[in-house]
């Protein structure tokens, strides 16, 4: 199977397994160029009140063509707030896909599993395609699948921390039992982290800060694109088992100056 096997979410095919966020770029122009270089086909945005005293640019005019805009519910601390935000976005013309985030904790930005599950059930019932952001938790994953979520998106490490796959073994369990695409979201700091998640069998990754805050975001976007493709190719190729002892790669007999 090629590295380019499509990612299928809720019956819709995507050529790229790298989802990207639009936050933290210095300018919208840099963001647009980085998103293009990433090859990403799913791009997240937040929803906020318009500041009536400031006339900032409309971010949607800076997004590459043909990407799926994925509104998130960041800023929501309860299920009810998240449901309300998703409904507002859909009514106003954004897609009926939602990256569901319910985060009451401002320090570590860890999602609330109980409220997330509650909001997910309501939104699926209401016709949304729901992509919930969660702590790595195989039990919660099953419950989210049961209520009809389109993906499950466990964090690698806290948002913006760049620490990589901190709960690798738990995410491995989630990969093994996943019935909908597993997207590793948040905490990936380097392309090698993204590769590691893909080698493990994650279906996709979502990256924002690591690209937006890089010295050269456009080059870093390309690096993540390549890393995701490399990781996916390696997953299909079959990563070797780890061993404790050495296993020689060269013959152990017939050395030229054998004693």
């Amino acid at each position: 199977m090629s590295s380019n096997d499509p990612l299928v979410i809720a019956g819709r095919e995507f050529g790229s397994r790298l989802l990207t966020g639009t936050g933290k770029y210095d300018t919208f122009e840099t963001m647009r160029d980085a998103l293009t270089a990433s090859g990403s086909e799913i791009v997240t945005v937040a929803v906020r009140r318009i500041d009536l005293d400031a006339r900032d640019d409309d971010i949607t005019t800076f997004l590459p063509e043909n990407v799926l805009l994925l509104p998130n519910t960041s800023g929501c601390e309860t299920a009810d707030e998240a449901v309300q935000t998703a409904r507002l976005a859909r009514a106003g013309g954004l897609p009926d896909w939602v990256k569901l985030e319910v985060i009451p904790d401002p320090r570590y930005l860890l999602p609330d599993p109980v409220e997330t599950l509650r909001a997910a059930a309501t939104l699926v019932e209401d016709g949304f395609t729901v992509l919930p952001y969660v702590l790595p938790d195989p039990v919660l994953q099953k419950k989210l699948e049961e209520v009809g979520c389109a993906t499950v998106m466990p964090l690698a490490a806290p948002i913006g921390s760049g620490r990589g796959l901190k709960l690798r073994d738990t995410i491995r369990i989630m990969v093994e039992q996943a019935e909908v695409p597993l997207v590793v979201d948040a905490g990936l700091g380097a392309p090698s982290h993204a590769s590691e998640a893909m080698e493990l069998g994650a279906d996709a990754v979502l990256v924002n800060t690591a690209i937006a805050r890089a010295g050269d975001p456009v080059a870093m976007a390309r690096a993540f694109r390549l890393a995701v493709e490399a990781g996916r190719t390696a997953f299909h190729a079959g990563v070797m088992e780890e061993g404790v002892q050495a296993a020689a790669s060269s013959p152990l007999t017939g050395a030229v100056h054998e004693s």
Partner: protein, 68 residues
């Protein structure tokens, strides 16, 4: 007295019979990707030109912004 609404928490005078679309246009928000909630309920984009504002309405106007 001219009717007024609460717009993102601020008092905003509106014209008699003014629609959501009309108000957005007047505030220079017409071309923007404005998302509108009226009295706690989301307003469908297609009905912005039809929904007439009433004195005391509570409006929230939001838009997509950069985020992860």
């Amino acid at each position: 007295m001219r009717p007024s609404v609460s717009l993102n928490g601020r008092e905003q005078a509106v014209e008699d019979g003014e629609t959501v679309a009309g108000l957005l246009e007047r505030l220079g928000l017409g071309a923007r990707y404005a998302l509108v909630e009226r009295n706690g309920e989301p307003v469908e984009r297609a009905s912005y030109p039809e929904v007439r504002l009433e004195d005391g309405d509570r409006l929230v106007v939001a838009r997509p912004v950069a985020g992860g």
